[in-house]
């Protein structure tokens, strides 16, 4: 992946950049898992608890 930055920033060390990207990526992944649990999880408990939210946010529900 190209992570080069516009000219005026000081280029951080590669390790720091990788650490930053890993942490941003981890947060992104956690977000996806949470959205899956609320919106798509097939467990009937999750479905029934989040039922109205699934309908209200346009997720396929039944």
């Amino acid at each position: 992946m190209n992570i080069s930055t516009p000219s005026i920033t000081i280029t951080p060390t590669t390790t720091a950049a990788i650490s930053m990207l890993a942490q941003l990526g981890a947060a992104l992944l956690l977000g996806l898992v949470m959205l899956y649990a609320v919106g798509f999880s097939e467990a009937s408990v999750a479905h029934n608890a989040a039922h109205d939210v699934r309908h209200a946010t346009g997720r396929p529900c039944h």
Binding site: T5, P6, I8, L24, L30, G31, M34, D52, A56, G58
Partner: protein
């Protein structure tokens, strides 16, 4: 640590947005769902798994737990809204923070005042609404309880594909500085070229003619109500996320202090 701060910001932004969203839904979305459930009860059961003999709303099995109507159901809806908003914030904030960093921290910087953050937050929130609500809704309009539709899994796959293509396509169109950015248009159109899963037959099969007619009117109102509610949700989420990025995340991502850099470029 960046992740910890991101997570705390998402909790904070998600809590506020989720509670706000629950209030909006309570006012104009939930009444339509409850009205549709009355009609759903009156419909001829289509299959054993959808029988509602025990009175529980939407149990997919006879023993399935469901919150009691009233306070308990509302509480779980608020909880689900908060979790949904935290999840959305966890998607939006890393992207916002990275985008801001690639622009040397210029768009979301506190020394430029809160105005710029709010403006970009509204833009990113609008993008979130387009990707996670509007585009999937074009192929699969929001459904009310009691409606018949194509197989659940096929619709979930199409929804996910549409959201992914929408996010990728929009990012290419808006963020890439190259001629091939127009390929983003192709990505946006791709799910619709494939086509959303279609249900063979009426969405209101098993209902009396007059009930089906009333359901149709409810659905028309439901589409507008959900579009408005989720637009408000995304605009608030985007604004709060951008403010959080400017205030709490950018300092971790942009080692160069804005004041120093401005002096550097001016000289």
């Amino acid at each position: 640590m960046l992740f910890r701060r991101l997570f705390l910001c998402a909790l904070f932004v998600g809590l506020l947005t989720g509670i706000f969203d629950s209030a909006v839904q309570r006012w104009q979305v939930v009444p339509l769902i409850l009205a549709a459930e009355v009609f759903e009860e009156s419909a001829v059961p289509q299959g054993a798994e959808h029988a509602h003999a025990d009175g529980a709303a939407h149990s997919h099995g006879p023993q399935a737990w469901a919150p009691q109507d009233g306070l308990e159901r509302t509480a779980y809806t608020v909880l689900a809204n908060v979790l949904n908003a935290i999840g959305s914030a966890l998607l939006l904030m890393p992207l916002l923070a990275f985008w801001n960093r690639q622009r040397a921290g210029q768009p979301l910087a506190l020394h430029k005042g809160y105005g710029a953050s709010v403006r970009y937050g509204l833009l990113w929130g609008a993008a979130g609404w387009v990707c996670l609500f509007a585009l999937p809704a074009l192929g699969q309009p929001p459904e009310l309880p009691g409606m018949q539709a194509a197989a659940l899994q096929a619709r979930q796959v199409w929804w996910t594909l549409t959201v992914a293509c929408g996010a990728g396509g929009l990012a290419m169109l808006c963020l890439v500085q190259a001629k091939w950015r127009v390929l983003g248009l192709g990505l946006l159109v791709l799910p619709f070229a494939i086509g959303a899963p279609q249900h063979a037959g009426s969405s209101f099969a098993g209902m009396e003619a007059d009930v089906a007619l009333q359901m149709q009117q409810l659905v028309a109102r439901f589409v507008v109500a959900t579009a408005v509610a989720s637009a408000l949700q995304w605009l608030l989420l985007g604004t709060l996320s951008a403010l959080a990025v400017a205030r709490w995340l950018s300092p971790l991502l942009n080692p160069v202090a804005p004041a120093t850099r401005l002096e550097g470029t001016a000289s």
